[in-house]
């Protein structure tokens, strides 16, 4: 498997298949993030595709100073935020169910437990959707994508200190929104 810089170089040399490999490599991660940012699988798919298109078009401007996926995420986050700003915030049980899908969270659990987890996932999605865009983005990047503060700062174009404080506030807000869930979890 070639590294990102190699694939990028091949793409810039005219080998579009190399970019196809980059797409395959990051499409799911990007999609996962976009779904949680946007709350809509359809919108997320649009954003993912458009992100890759934009990346391809602007690939010559990528300097390689950061990781490719960080750069990719930056495009995706910007697009997601733009898209979401243009839409009314919406969240429903059906929607969150759609997001969570039929996929079992934990196959080792019994049906009751899975139901609880499913319900919790729906609550989480609803709570995430209720957050502000900035807080949601930073939480998704941190908790779901596992980005460190530096990466988050780069993706969101923020100082690291801001990332830390904003992340904290995002957590507090989410915790408030999920008070009952958290109580069960900690209790």
């Amino acid at each position: 498997m070639k590294s990102d810089p190699e694939l990028i170089a091949e793409t810039l040399a005219g080998n579009q298949a190399a970019f196809g490999q980059l797409v395959k490599k990051y499409q799911d991660r990007l999609y996962h993030t976009a779904v949680h940012l946007l709350g809509s699988p359809e919108d997320a798919l649009d954003v993912v595709q458009e992100t890759f298109v934009q990346a391809f078009v602007k690939l010559d401007s990528f300097r390689g100073s950061s990781a490719f996926y960080t750069w990719l995420y930056r495009i995706a986050i910007n697009q997601s935020i733009s898209l979401r700003r243009r839409k009314r915030p919406m969240s429903s049980v059906d929607q969150t169910r759609e997001i969570t899908g039929e996929e079992p969270v934990d196959t080792a659990e019994g049906p009751d437990r899975r139901l609880v987890l499913q319900e919790r996932a729906e609550q989480l999605h609803a709570a995430l959707a209720a957050l502000s865009e900035e807080h949601r983005a930073i939480l998704v990047l941190r908790e779901m994508e596992g980005c460190d503060y530096e990466e988050i700062a780069e993706i969101l174009d923020l100082p690291v200190g801001t990332v830390r404080s904003r992340l904290h506030r995002a957590r507090v807000q989410l915790k408030d929104l999920l008070k009952t869930v958290m109580q069960e979890e900690t209790g």
């Binding site: 579009q16 830390r164 979890e185």
Partner: protein
């Protein structure tokens, strides 16, 4: 502002960072000390951990498919767009340097060559810019042509509008071509929009996600360059127009398919794509393959003209070309006259008028069927229902029954039939009769039991049409129909007090109104050549004369129907023969009514572009149409097409809703058409804008106190809209003199029908023959100024049955501006043209 200094960190924030491992050694020590001493801090950290765990426990989502192909396709298109348009946008702001002289390698694609750092964009900048500019000019010209045509012209000549012919060509093109062109154009326009939004960051547009195109426009980029603005605008316009063209093509396809024509490879059946997109439509076809016969050869030429109307003619390119020309003319044709015809009942008059149309080589397109096919084409009807019509028609053909394209039956069959369930509308009248019988029996039983019979009539078993019937059992609706019905809920007309609710439960097709059979009105918009219109009117007059020649039954004052004067056996034989002839024809072919006129019926020439579109309205709707002058708006083919697509149909067909009328009025007001001169008259060569502005004026006027109607003699110069409205309002257009009025009154009295309130004032062939003559003279004047190959539009209002409470209600709802001295028109009983054996005279 989120910027904080390290010493501003509060303990909880430190905890959060500690949880993420994003603290310095000093901070770590501080936090650990805090955790050791503070239980609350430990609890807070535990909560944060739980939160983090909960978020991380969410299932990982994946796209589920490989996006690379799609992305690369879009990327390639985006690159092309970018390379094409970037220089155009940049040229306004930057000094242009000549591109270096490097050649593109032979066989090298844009993508393979890559755009990154190669600098080839500059080499192609000017050629591509030139191409782009040419395209833009073409686009803008195409858009402007119809507007230019709005300039005052001689409407009597009805010169084709610029741009119409082009649209007609598109209409006449194979449907899949138009559809594909639409998709491509949409993509291109989306790309343009994308580029315009993107500071040169062009993004390709995938055909799957039109929404993303718009979303992309909001990508947080700097302000759009002006050049890009224009590109975007042009692209959007082009998109709209192409969509309209595609719609037109669909309409035409529906029209053609409604006649059961098999165009084989010539029109619809050439590509699998089309077939796949419209599976239901393919299924719904009859008459030899229909549009879905992708691999089937063109139909053999019809050997029986009467039975298979011109099935193979459409394959001829010459015919297509002729039709294209005619269609372009048809698009120009305009409403010139509103005619009302009275019949014994709706069915009889419909049959009779069908026959007249066919005789004049005017094919009949059913409005609701167009709408229905549109829904099918858009997959709005549930899978399985599309087969219902097939089965229905097959069953009818099998039994030699008349195949009717009537709105109620078809729409009902599609909306009510469940997947896999055979539906036959012929069973429904029986069911309704059974329901009525049951109610009657119940009432009788109540009486026998000494109890008070229920005054509530039996609810009909079936609600016709795709709308919810008032006071009826709610049928299980198809999703599309349900959606429409939901929109209709607040527009449902209440049945009149005079009509039993059981009858009022009849719901006629697309109207969404609850009307009784006695109050149904069929509205037929005929687009035909002057000769055809003349022939139509002449035939109607002839038949009216025949009707008047019938003896009057002294007891009832009604005309004795023909079947009372003819041996029934002969009529029945002829009827049987007519049905047999029809059986072999396509399902939607006009059908000759039983009786002696059968032999005169001939198949319409498919090459003829003259056609009639019809739909049903209630009296109230009709009155509202007249009142709000929506007739002006339905005069446009564009509107009908919009209606067929379900966009504007509600506003027009229901007509009585003020909200929707206002909506349409606003649309008209906001359109450039509203800016056309308003004071021009049709006769003086007004442009179409005048006629289209009429509803706006009318609505504005309607918001003010109703002025006292001017006497007929003083109403000489009238606006176009008033002219259109006049015959319906009975305001004496054209100076109907006392003699004529008296003649009308005498005739009305002679036929012995109950009087129609003067407020209604609708001129008919029967109740106001003098006025009819006047109208015809007016029409003749206009026809004389119309080339024979041009087309004119006439709206015929076919009123079946006797005036009822519904009519009275319509009168109340409608205009009451009949001038003093207007004769009280009367409504006769069955005219001669009604099929006597099938249509006994209606009760007054």
């Amino acid at each position: 502002m989120d910027d904080v200094r390290p010493n501003d960190l509060n303990p909880e924030e430190l905890l959060s960072a500690y949880l993420d491992g994003e603290v310095t050694a000093a901070e770590r020590a501080q936090v650990e000390q805090m955790l050791a001493s503070d239980p609350e801090a430990r609890a807070a950290l535990q909560e944060l951990r739980a939160l983090s765990a909960a978020l991380q426990s969410l299932p990982k989502l994946s796209v589920g498919e490989d996006l690379s192909e799609r992305v690369l396709r879009r990327a390639e298109r985006a690159m092309l767009e970018r390379q094409t348009l970037e220089p155009v946008a940049a040229s306004a702001a930057e000094p242009v340097s000549l591109p270096p002289k490097t050649a593109v390698k032979q066989g090298e694609t844009l993508l393979e060559r890559g755009s990154h750092g190669a600098g080839w964009t500059r080499r192609l900048a000017w050629p591509l810019a030139a191409v782009a500019a040419t395209l833009l000019i073409m686009l803008v010209n195409q858009k402007q042509k119809p507007e230019l045509a709005l300039a005052p012209v001689n409407v009597h000549k009805q010169a084709p509008r610029a741009g119409v012919s082009q649209d007609a060509v598109v209409q006449n093109a194979p449907a899949e071509m138009s559809r594909e062109a639409s998709v491509e154009s949409s993509e291109e326009s989306g790309s343009g929009s994308d580029f315009a939004a993107g500071n040169g960051q062009a993004g390709a547009v995938g055909e799957e996600d039109k929404r993303a195109d718009h979303d992309r426009a909001a990508f947080d980029q700097p302000a759009k360059p002006s050049a890009a603005h224009s590109i975007e605008g042009a692209a959007v316009e082009r998109d709209d127009r192409t969509a309209a063209n595609s719609l037109s093509a669909d309409m035409k396809a529906a029209r053609s398919s409604a006649k059961g024509e098999n165009d084989g490879q010539g029109r619809f059946g050439t590509t699998q794509k089309r077939q796949l997109q419209v599976p239901a439509l393919a299924k719904a076809e009859h008459g030899g393959g229909g549009i879905g016969s992708a691999a089937s050869p063109p139909a053999a030429p019809a050997t029986s003209g009467a039975a298979v109307p011109g099935a193979s003619l459409a394959n001829s390119p010459m015919v297509d070309a002729k039709r294209a020309r005619s269609e372009s003319q048809a698009a120009n044709a305009r409403l010139e006259l509103v005619v009302e015809v009275l019949g014994a009942d709706g069915t009889a008059i419909e049959h009779s008028f069908d026959e007249l149309l066919v005789k004049q080589n005017i094919r009949i397109d059913d409005f609701s069927e167009l709408q229905q096919r549109k829904q099918i084409a858009q997959n709005q009807l549930p899978p399985g229902n599309e087969g219902a019509k097939d089965r229905e028609v097959e069953a009818q053909e099998e039994n030699g029954a008349r195949v009717d394209a009537g709105a109620d039956k078809q729409v009902k069959s599609l909306s009510q039939a469940k997947p896999g369930e055979e539906f036959n509308y012929r069973d429904q009248p029986q069911k309704e009769a059974e329901a009525k019988e049951q109610a009657k029996n119940a009432a009788t039983a109540d009486l026998n039991a000494g109890t008070t019979p229920s005054t509530k009539p039996a609810e009909p078993v079936v609600t016709r049409g795709n709308k919810k019937g008032l006071g009826t059992a709610k049928p299980e609706k198809a999703p599309a129909a349900a959606g429409l019905a939901a929109k209709d809920e607040d527009h449902l007309a209440k049945p009149s007090a005079e009509e039993p609710a059981a009858e009022a439960g009849e719901n006629f097709g697309i109207t969404g109104e609850t009307v009784s059979p006695s109050s149904q009105v069929e509205v037929v918009l005929v687009t035909a050549t002057p000769a055809q219109v003349r022939g139509l009117l002449q035939e109607m007059e002839n038949r009216a004369d025949q009707y008047r020649a019938l003896p009057v039954e002294p007891a009832t004052g009604r005309r004795l129907a023909e079947d009372t004067q003819q041996p029934k056996g002969a009529a029945q034989l002829e009827s049987l023969a007519a049905n047999r002839a029809v059986k072999a024809g396509p399902p939607n072919a006009p059908v000759a009514p039983a009786g002696k006129v059968k032999s005169q019926t001939q198949a319409p020439d498919e090459a003829s572009s003259s056609y009639a579109v019809r739909w049903r309205v209630s009296e109230e709707q009709l009155a509202s149409l007249m009142k709000d002058q929506s007739l002006d708006q339905i005069a446009g083919l564009d509107h009908l097409e919009g209606a067929a697509s379900g966009i504007l149909a509600d506003g027009i067909v229901r007509g009585g809703s003020k909200r929707e009328t206002d909506m349409l009025t606003e649309q008209a007001a906001s359109s450039e058409l509203a800016d056309a001169p308003a004071d021009a008259t049709l006769r003086d060569g007004a442009d179409e804008g005048a006629a289209r502005k009429a509803p706006v004026e009318k609505t504005q006027a309607a918001s003010q106190p109703e002025p006292t109607p001017a006497p007929a003699a003083s109403a000489a110069p009238q606006k176009a809209s008033e002219k259109l409205k006049a015959p319906l309002r009975g305001d004496g257009l054209g100076g109907q003199d006392e003699n004529d009025s008296q003649a009308d009154k005498e005739v009305a009295e002679k036929v012995g029908a109950s009087p129609v309130p003067a407020e209604n004032g609708i001129a008919t062939l029967h109740n106001a023959p003098a006025f009819w003559r006047q109208q015809r003279a007016e029409l003749e004047k206009q026809l004389r100024g119309t080339a024979e190959d041009q087309q004119i539009r006439v709206l015929f209002v076919l009123r079946g049955g006797a005036p009822s409470g519904a009519r009275n209600k319509a009168d109340v709802a409608g205009q009451s501006s009949s001038p003093a001295g207007e004769p009280n028109a009367t409504v006769p009983a069955a005219p001669a043209e009604s099929a006597p054996s099938e249509a006994p005279p209606a009760k007054e």
